[in-house]
Subunit: 116 residues, 2 copies
DNA sequence: AGTTTGCACAACCACATGGTTGTGCAAGCG
DNA sequence: CGCTTGCACAACCATGTGGTTGTGCAAACT
């Protein structure tokens, strides 16, 4: 129905889901563990997980009664590729890797931003 | 209302809008020029442009009766930063920044896990 | 002057999204 | 065995989204 890129982008277009992904970056977690920091029901988080799963940003295993979530790392590559392509085209700057990394580090330093 | 990152991501989560951006990468264009390749009305494209404008991915000038669209290149940097950060964390790549991030990740993985 | 061009605003529509409550069900625990 | 835990499914609701048609209006053309 919808193309992969759109699915991933729209999955990322929600602070709650991005926070979930960040949480999962620190290790796998169960639904309840993921739901705990948010002021919403477990069912709502379940919905978000379904969105992430559909975008193949996470995958889930059925381990007994818990369904731990695992990041699917490759999914971001397509998105990063798209972004990078256009960023370079638009900016017209053929930045070398060093500049790129410097920018990333700067971006990381001013973190705390939007991830919630 | 909504955070910047979500605005940009959701603006990018539509094939039409991404195509518009690609078109604009080759140079500024008017609304009608942008609308021409799509099987939709000029008004629909206008709506898409408003979304892109709200996400500050494009800016518009009022030149006489036409309203040419120009890419706002900086907006993608935040998104690219977010993507790159997480992609590298998850994938555990191999440059200096990556090792730094991997160390961070390992340190953070050391706690949590059982609690929550 | 009158007409055409380029665009935006408004109202409307169908459907998606993000949340809720209520419920059910399989796995583990007392 | 019965209770609790962990999660998903269904129905519902409010709002957002992506499209349409209809209209209006300012600038440019003749």
């Amino acid at each position: 129905m919808e193309d992969e890129l759109s699915l991933v982008f729209s999955a990322l277009a929600d602070p709650t889901r991005r926070a979930i992904l960040e949480r999962l970056a620190h290790g796998d977690a169960t639904v309840n563990q993921l739901a705990e920091p948010f002021a919403m029901t477990q069912q709502a988080v379940s919905k978000h997980l379904k969105v992430l799963e559909r975008a193949r940003l996470i995958s889930r295993t059925r381990t007994a009664q818990s369904r731990p979530c695992v990041l699917d790392t490759e999914r971001l590559d397509a998105v990063a590729g798209w972004i990078e392509r256009h960023r370079r085209i638009w900016a017209g700057r053929h930045d070398r890797l060093d500049q790129h990394l410097a920018a990333l580090q700067a971006a990381q330093r001013r973190d705390g931003e939007t991830t919630r």
